[in-house]
């Protein structure tokens, strides 16, 4: 062995970094610099209450999650029989109502300003998927109440599910399955996609008004 030769070969000279962590870091730096992720200023056209509907939806979702965690920790007898439990039950219910109301208002706003323009189609489609999963989450929530309403809804909904051919996989009479979907899988899906949705909005910025077309993005 030649003692004059180094034991470690020098890294090959290349424009593309060999380290995957470096490549990921550079990709994030290019696609989502920190001033885009946490901006302190917005374009002048964002000065409208229409742009507030999205963030109100997120605020409602935060209350849904907080109240839902408390309900799941304390259990059905608490949320039906105690005053504080009924308060949190109502908090969960009414924050869901606000979540849906403001999500639909956000949808109307984005529809009329064609929010999918200039490479924002994926952001729009993820919003559509969030809407769909949210409906499924609300439905399983109605089935998880542990009262006669939940039984009534389950008994009537089973025929629709069987008619659609999904009753064997999505059994609304199976409380464990509905409750598990409601408190675990579906909320994780909604929350994850909401985070992706927000990051994508931050990456591209808010879409310009239609009458400002032709100007730079």
């Amino acid at each position: 062995m030649d003692a004059t030769k180094p034991l470690i070969a020098p890294a090959p000279v290349s424009d593309k970094p060999q380290s995957w962590t470096l490549r990921v870091r550079q990709m994030i730096d290019r696609g989502l610099p920190i001033d885009h992720l946490l901006p302190d200023r917005q374009p002048y056209y964002v000065g409208s209450w229409v742009y507030v509907f999205g963030v109100v939806t997120i605020a409602a979702l935060a209350w849904v999650i907080v109240s839902g965690v408390v309900l799941s920790f304390m259990g059905p007898q608490w949320w039906h029989d105690s005053g504080v439990g009924r308060f949190f039950n109502s908090l969960h219910y009414w924050s869901v109502q606000l979540f849906f109301i403001f999500m639909v208002l956000h949808l109307w706003g984005q529809y009329f300003m064609a929010g999918w323009r200039h490479g924002r189609a994926a952001t729009w489609m993820i919003g559509v998927v969030i809407f769909g999963i949210s409906i499924l989450t609300a439905f399983t929530g109605y089935l998880s109440q542990q009262n006669f309403d939940a039984q009534f809804i389950a008994l009537n909904a089973k025929d629709a599910m069987n008619g659609a051919g999904i009753g064997a996989f999505f059994n609304v009479l199976n409380f464990g399955q509905m409750y598990g979907l409601h408190v675990m899988l579906l909320p994780i899906g909604v929350t994850f996609l909401v985070v992706v949705h927000i990051v994508m909005v931050r990456m591209r910025g808010v879409v310009k008004p239609i009458d400002a077309e032709g100007t730079a993005r």
């Binding site: 002048y44 209450w49 229409v50 109307w108 910025g205």
Partner: protein, 49 residues
């Protein structure tokens, strides 16, 4: 609160009064959001952030 909701029926349209009120309220809120003045900060930015 425990009694069934009143339903309105025109032809093929069947909707409960509470649902109709929620939709009407959303339409009003959307219209107000379009026309209500939005408080601006000291300076506005016309660039992308």
């Amino acid at each position: 609160m425990d009694s069934p909701a009143t339903y309105l029926h025109w032809g093929f349209i069947l909707i409960s009064v509470p649902n109709l009120l929620v939709i009407a309220g959303m339409l009003v809120l959307f219209a107000v959001a379009l026309v209500a003045p939005f408080p601006h900060g000291a300076e506005a930015d016309d660039g992308r952030h």
